[in-house]
């Protein structure tokens, strides 16, 4: 079970989080049909670092972008998303 550094709550056990999707599967509302389908169904799936959206469901409930190595589970960075993360 991984230890995920939540940008709002600090390091917390993976059990508190839900993996939602990869960042490249986020479909913009104005995306065309082809782009939307590519995002949803033909993603890169790298054997290495990928960017993922996680949600701290049993904590602050915030979404966050996690850069994680999908073989070693090393977490490179966790960035907040949402209104609080806007410049």
């Amino acid at each position: 079970m991984m230890l995920i550094p939540c940008p709002h709550c600090g390091p917390r056990a993976q059990a508190e989080f839900v993996y939602e999707r990869t960042l490249d599967s986020v479909v913009a509302l104005d995306a065309g049909a082809d782009d939307a389908m590519n995002s949803l169904f033909t993603r890169t799936n790298p054997r290495g670092v990928d960017e993922e959206l996680w949600r701290h469901t049993y904590g602050c409930r915030a979404w966050m972008a996690v850069r994680r190595h999908r073989v070693t589970h090393e977490i490179e960075s966790v960035q907040p998303v949402g209104p609080e993360a806007l410049p």
Binding site: M1, L3, E20, V27, R55, R61, A62, V81, P83, L86
Partner: protein, 926 residues
């Protein structure tokens, strides 16, 4: 057999083995106690029912598997070497009938040719009917213990902990490492799976002094460290999380405070593995007989437990360690008949021993012979000559395999040590270090087979012999992973702790490769078997799933309804009167709604309050229908799409104020909708000035429906209630309420929302008002019948996640301005192509329409769709149904067969529009 240091007077603990009352001494393992009582035969093997005794003195034991405990506490396949005897322990041998000594199943051993490697797979090539015979035969013959039939009465707890250093293993290396860390000010946890600290010190002479172990333990504890005894580090997970299994009581024992075991999740700064080595057996004919024992295990029984497992002993070794066993046995009064050393030259240790013992070089065992309970002789090859020794114990040492399981689970790599003929821990991406003999196993020689391969066992627990490995090779199984699965090598509850290296050596020999090139199978948690109850912890029985009770639970319970789980909720399914059954009650309730008035609890609907200047804009992303044009005080039906364009939920949206909306959606989809809303809010459009709050449990909801609903409500609030799809605030029973003119039943109806804690007086007032008008409460079953007749879809029924708005007949409501989630996905041409399922109604031309049945052109032929919900017209009772039918909307009037072959029901039906009741909606209008 009792050793010299063991006085029979000390045996004060009573236990039974196969019903026979026996005595043990405090601190005995069951294996030690059995040996002390002269019991050599402990179990029968998995496939061939061969007699098996005690081979080891630790958790790696493959042979001496017993069932310990009774009733729900019975634990099958417990290693006799890994349970400490307690007063009243009940142990039973396994896989034998009628008794351990006289086992009819042993006859299979005579036909072992019939059960070679891959036997299961091979039987599939024969006629299918034969398999039925094989299966009966296999299921009766093969196996180990039986799972208990009763529920486990004990509790299992779980605990989380943190430390700077977690030390696994309480032997000399682990104790020293733990003391060093504690002295350096680290928070230390030391775990030891045995009941005593000391590891090898418990069996081997040493010069650390008698109090060294207790002194070290005291230093750890004094520094604030924790020592967990009878605790196995069973899994190494990501980011240095280690799971520990702590035995608070022994298997089958009644816990003093109710808790049998505890599962720890320990997040460690660093993990030190002082896990030691497991001694390897040697392959020779009948090497599985009772009386063949690992060399270090013999020392453990003699020195730790004071039990002498044999009086005339042959020792077979490929290393120096076994010479210590010879000395130990000799000191205890046993006769060491011969030491068979596989090495060609005498080592320094061997030379030194030569004066006291008969030592042969180039000497290997070839076969063990004996009866069921005891060894009689050992046949050996000494410098190419055949020799035979009378002996009742054969102590073997084939070298030492470091326990690298946790290192491997952590993602570590291994190096092969030629000197030790073993894999040792190398690199690891996690913060783990291996120390002690696990890092530096004693030197040993490669060992080849001498003797008949058919009875030279490698995996004792699964009865895999050298011949099975050879057969797998001959049949083309080249990789170690295939070999494992084909022969079941290493797949038993011991996970090949004693067998892997011997099998790998044989495979490497066949491949003409080195052992590391032959490869290794994957090590996975748990290290030793873990009982299911421990993983469940407290989350069992009623705590296995969350049950949410409605705010009006007490009010409902007073009416003794039939309850039904809906999502996480328990909702009333029907309110039977005077002994009505479900169907009768539901029909009466539905008819009351159609003819007078009914009320039901709709509190569990998902509810979100959306507010802020961008609230309408936000809702137009969530909902596929237009929201912006909704007037204040008005509401509208809506539905939501996934990003792939398919409908995933529906509900209503209400404009409470200029910038304030209430969104409702289905009960079962409430959590999914909450996630979806937070996704759009936080990820897609964080810049919107909007707040979306989940108010599902803030309000209790009561639906009042029927031709008399308006009159009943008027009387309660003293004013005109809102029109259909309008809302109003009011006071009801002295409580402020929100009234929505909304109908799910097809009748003029209202939803009353009240703060959940104030629901009771409102419910009571409604009950009184309805009783005066001949009304009643109704449950989910009546609601279902009413909505089917009205043709309203339901999430998880018609809205099954595969249908577009067009399929459901909702396309006309789509927001033409677009901009909603799923718009791009919905534009895919395939979603508009012919041949898709569409929502239709069905009228029966025969009896009731079977729920879930297929729609076919002919009986059993030509599937056209399926029935999603079946019911009947509320007043007349004529059977109707909703269905999904290929191109259904253009097939009105067509006749089909609703087929349910599993129930042998075939009913002729006619396709209709999916509205059986008031299709124009005239009953909503005032």
């Amino acid at each position: 057999m009792t050793g010299p240091s063991r006085s029979p007077d000390g045996a004060t603990i009573n236990f039974t083995f196969d019903g026979r009352p026996l005595k043990a001494r405090a601190g005995d393992t069951l294996a030690a106690a059995l040996l002390a009582n002269g019991i050599g035969l402990v179990g029968r093997s998995f496939k061939y029912h061969r007699p098996r005794g005690i081979m080891t003195a630790g958790i790696e034991e493959p042979n001496a598997l017993v069932t310990v405990g009774e009733g729900g506490r019975a634990e099958p396949n417990t290693r006799a070497t890994d349970v400490f005897v307690y007063e009243g322990l009940v142990a039973r041998s396994q896989n034998r009938w009628p008794s351990l000594s006289f086992d009819l199943g042993a006859v299979f051993g005579l036909f072992s040719k019939a059960l070679p490697a891959g036997f299961y797979y091979k039987t599939f090539f024969g006629p299918a009917k034969l398999w039925l015979v094989y299966e009966w035969f296999i299921r009766r013959a093969a196996g180990l213990g039986n799972a208990p039939q009763e529920a486990d009465p004990d509790r299992y707890s779980q605990r989380a902990a943190f430390c700077d250093v977690l030390v696994v293993g309480g032997g000399p290396a682990g104790l020293q490492a733990a003391v060093d860390a504690a002295d350096a000010g680290k928070r230390v946890i030391l775990v030891e799976q045995d009941a005593e600290l000391g590891g090898s010190l418990l069996r081997d002479p040493h010069d650390l002094g008698p109090d060294w172990t207790s002194t070290m333990a005291a230093r750890i504890r004094d520094a604030g460290g924790t020592i967990l005894m009878r605790t196995t580090a069973s899994g190494y997970w990501e980011h240095d999380l280690v799971t520990l299994v702590q035995r608070i009581t022994e298997p089958g024992q009644v816990p003093t405070d109710g808790t049998a075991q505890r599962l720890w999740h320990v997040r460690a700064g660093k993990v030190i593995l002082a896990t030691g080595c497991i001694e390897r057996p040697i392959a020779f004919a009948h090497n599985d007989r009772p009386g063949v024992m690992l060399s270090q295990a013999v020392r453990t029984y003699v020195r730790r437990f004071g039990v002498l497992p044999g009086k005339r002993v042959v020792i077979a070794t490929n290393n120096d360690d076994a010479y210590l066993t010879a000395q130990t046995l000799s000191d205890a009064g046993a006769e060491v008949v011969a030491i068979l050393d596989a090495r060609s030259a005498l080592s320094a240790t061997a030379s030194e021993a030569q004066g006291r013992f008969t030592v042969h070089t180039n000497a290997v065992p070839k076969a063990a012979t004996g009866g069921m309970h005891q060894l009689k002789s050992v046949k050996a090859t000494v410098s190419a000559q055949d020799v035979s020794y009378d002996a009742d114990l054969l102590a073997v040492s084939g070298g030492f395999t470091p326990v690298t399981h946790l290192h491997m689970q952590a993602g570590g790599t291994l190096d092969f040590s030629d000197e030790a003929q073993a894999f040792v821990a190398a690199e690891c991406r996690q913060n783990v270090e291996t120390i002690g003999s696990a890092a530096n196993p004693p030197a040993a020689l490669p060992l080849a087979l001498h003797g008949d391969p058919k009875t030279s066992f490698v995996d004792f627990q699964n009865d895999v012999s050298i011949a099975d490995i050879d057969l797998a090779w001959a049949e083309g199984y080249r990789s170690v992973e295939h070999l494992k699965r084909y022969t079941t090598l290493g797949m038993a509850t011991d996970q090949g702790k004693t067998s892997n290296m011997a099998a790998l050596a044989r495979l490497a020999e066949r491949q003409h490769a080195s052992i590391p090139d032959a490869g290794l199978t994957t090590f996975r948690p748990p290290y030793t078997p873990v009982t299911m109850g421990l993983l469940a912890g407290r989350n069992h029985r009623d705590a296995g799933a969350h049950v949410r009770r409605l705010a009006l639970w007490n009010q409902h319970q007073a009416a003794k309804p039939i309850w039904q789980p809906a999502g996480y909720w328990m909702r009333p399914r029907a309110f039977p009167r005077n002994g009505e059954d479900l169907a009768t009650s539901a029909r009466r309730e539905a008819q009351t709604v159609r003819s007078a008035v009914g009320m039901t609890d709709v509190s569990s609907l998902a509810k979100f309050e959306v507010s802020g200047p961008d609230a309408a804009k936000f809702l137009e992303m969530i909902c596929a229908t237009s929201v912006a044009k909704l007037a204040i005080g008005r509401g509208r039906y809506t539905f939501m799409l996934r990003e792939d364009g398919l409908v995933f939920d529906d509900g209503t949206v209400w404009r409470l104020d200029e910038n304030r909306y209430l969104l409702t959606s289905s009960t079962g989809g409430a959590d999914r909708m909450a996630t979806h809303i937070s996704y759009v809010r936080q990820v897609l459009h964080p810049e919107l000035r909007v707040s979306a709050v989940n108010v599902q449990e803030h309000y209790a909801g009561i639906a009042v429906a029927g031709p008399l609903a308006k009159a009943a409500l008027s009387a309660m609030i003293g004013t005109e209630p809102p029109r259909h799809m309008s809302l109003a605030s009011a006071t009801l029973a002295g409580v402020p309420v929100l009234l929505l003119g909304a109908s799910y039943s097809g009748e003029r109806a209202f939803e009353i929302y009240v703060e959940a804690t104030h629901g009771a007086p409102v419910w009571a007032a409604c009950e009184t008002a309805l009783a005066e008008r001949g009304g009643c409460t109704y449950g989910l079953e009546a609601m279902e019948i009413l909505r089917i007749e009205k043709g309203h879809v339901v999430v998880s029924g018609e809205v099954d996640g595969r249908l577009s708005p067009h399929d459901l007949g909702l396309a006309g409501m789509l927001n033409k301005a677009g901009g909603y989630v799923g718009e791009a996905g919905l534009s895919r041409p395939a979603l508009a192509a012919p041949g898709r399922l569409q929502l239709v109604g069905l009228e029966s031309l025969g009896g009731p329409i079977p729920e879930g049945s297929m729609l076919t052109l002919e009986k059993g032929v030509g599937a056209q769709g399926h029935v999603t919900a079946a019911a009947y017209r509320v007043m007349s009772g004529d059977p109707i149904a909703l269905a999904l039918l290929t191109d259904g909307r253009s097939r009105t009037g067509e006749e089909l067969i609703a087929s349910s072959p599993t129930r042998n029901q075939y009913v002729r039906v006619r396709v209709t529009a999916p509205h059986f009741y008031d299709p124009a909606g005239e009953r909503y209008r005032d």
